[in-house]
Symmetry: C2
Subunit: 363 residues, 2 copies
């Protein structure tokens, strides 16, 4: 009998908890493939005087981060990070980006060398030389530099996934066999996954969408039309495609039509907090830092940070003319442009089209 | 000196009136290319006791269909259809689909054989044998069977275009020279156009988007999540691509990333009346005909009609399994499915992806 895959989820926030429901149920559904026990690393804290890990293990609910749904009984909360990941062959990372370095350094040398990592972390990382790097690559490099890594992204929100709402996700992996395995681990009737080889596009879309959402937020804040909003989403999508083509080389146009692409972009540009805070910037006249303080309790928005990083790469590559929307968003966030100047800046360049781009042929 | 292009706009509803502002101003802007006088056929009617054509020619406002904006003084309202189109080298059609047959038959034999037709009409036509046909082809065939035809579509609404809101449009033409000419005629700083050769996709997207908007409306009416909405938009987009591939052969994936594709789809799925009426069907429990009567004064929605026509083609081609969303929308509109069954039907097929599709290579 072949060895069963042992699963560990690194992180127990609301996304980690939502995904543990799916993974926990699928582990039971495929007993020939997966060890039934799914371990979840829980950063220990006290909730109503009880340890969170004990609440999860006794009551099967994450009372702090996802209080309204039952977690599967085969999910075991483990407060010790190294212990949670020990022997795991599939490590699912569902932690905020700012905890990646510390978490991975603790795990380095303590995990199986043949493990598969699955990053659910959205954002854009930076190499020591300042160039962009995938967060999934950062995870791999911090762990041991050779772990196989995949990503899962898409138009899905933890609370809606936890309610079993119909939605989709995209798995990116270079390894077809891994793709089949992860589809069995993540796919359900209401959480529908597709697998693509174009990992870079899957991951980077999840970061760049927030820049586009800021542009849409400025437009909404200024009271511009609905068709202006969809023009900005489209121009932003074309800049996302162009950015990934320039800086990550291996993109396929088809990937943008998966959940990680156009669907996640739409969700974020209509409902996300980057859009909301950007709109608030316009009608309150506050800086982005003041809006973050007031609306997000000081948490940082991802859109302005990603716009800054993308703009730096764009400027260094001498490509400012190719990315008027990204550059304008950055300048508005920095207070170098008034929000009203965003459209003037975009207008001063030819209309965005992908006609002139070249793409890899279909596989 | 080369002959100047004479322009006629066939139709003076709100879209014809909005576009005459753009075309009228560009005709003045490029005096070496266009005759300054732009004729607009006006279906004569009395407004406050005055003839509409006289109001337009004296007051330069279309008091009935676009009362809040000034029309250019070089736009001449002409109540006689044949007279309006006489000698025109560019004929812009901005009439509802149901008036196409009568209008074109009246013009047949009375227009220049070398004229270029530009169809702004959205919808899907039917050949005498019941198979789908482009409305632009119908226009050409009814006129003389040989006029060169182009289309202009996209995420733009007459009232927003008339307010000079920033938005986009896509011109589809098989003739590059015509594309350059039409870009000069239609493009402005706030009405940004791109030109693609893939006329079929440009036109058919404008019809199929309304089917997807119905699916989104049912989902909204049932109170489903935001991520369900974007999943349906994405699945619908994939079915649009697949449909155009099967039935019109010549599609390019890039065209779906123009304004006529993803941008118009987004606008329609968030703001359009097909979405609104489909949602109303669900929460009132009324039939589509009852909703049309109540919310649209008896006007017909395009989504249910297009869903019926598409479903017939899909069934005849034995492709029901490839279009679960289109088929489900049709069945809900016909009362054969309850709205709640739409997702069950979609769920019973593999997740929609374009991985397996083949596309024409870039030009």
């Amino acid at each position: 009998m072949p060895q069963l895959h042992k699963i560990a989820i690194i992180g127990c926030g609301n996304w980690g908890s939502a995904i543990c429901r799916i993974v926990g149920e699928n582990a039971v559904k495929f007993p020939d493939l997966f060890d039934k026990c799914v371990r979840m690393w829980v950063f220990e804290e006290l909730v109503d005087g009880k340890k969170l890990s004990e609440i999860i293990n006794n009551e099967h609910v994450n009372r702090k981060y996802l209080p309204d749904v039952k977690l599967p009984e085969n999910v075991l909360a483990v407060p010790d990070l190294v212990e949670s990941a020990k022997d795991a062959t599939i490590l699912i990372f569902a932690i905020p980006h700012q905890f990646v370095a510390k978490t991975c350094k603790t795990l380095s040398g303590k995990i199986r060398e043949d493990a598969i990592g699955v990053s659910l972390i959205k954002g854009l990382s930076a190499s020591p030389d300042g160039s962009a790097r995938l967060i999934s690559s950062e995870v791999r490099d911090l762990l041991n530099g050779k772990i196989e890594i995949a990503v899962l992204m898409g138009a899905n929100l933890a609370n809606e996934v936890a309610e079993d709402q119909f939605c989709e996700a995209t798995i990116g992996t270079k390894n077809k066999k891994t793709g089949l395995l992860l589809k069995l681990l993540f796919d359900t009737g209401n959480f529908r996954t597709t697998v693509v080889g174009d990992l870079e596009t899957v991951e980077v879309c999840g970061a760049l969408k927030n820049v586009v959402a800021c542009a849409v937020g400025f437009s909404d804040g200024l009271g511009y039309a609905d068709t202006t909003k969809s023009a900005l989403i489209r121009i932003g999508l074309v800049e996302m495609i162009r950015f990934i083509q320039y800086f990550f080389k291996s993109t396929h146009l088809r990937t943008f039509l998966e959940s990680c692409g156009v669907a996640d972009l739409i969700t974020t540009c209509y409902g996300g907090r980057n859009r909301r805070c950007a709109a608030a910037m316009v009608y309150t006249g506050q800086s982005i830092e003041e809006v973050e303080k007031e609306l997000l309790n000081g948490q940082k928005l991802q859109g302005p940070a990603t716009a800054a990083q993308a703009s730096e790469m764009i400027e260094r590559a001498n490509l400012l003319d190719e990315f008027p929307l990204f550059v304008a968003v950055h300048k508005v966030c920095k207070g170098q442009f008034k929000p009203e100047q965003m459209l003037d800046h975009i207008r001063s360049f030819p209309v965005e089209t992908i006609d002139s781009m070249t793409f890899l042929p279909p596989p």
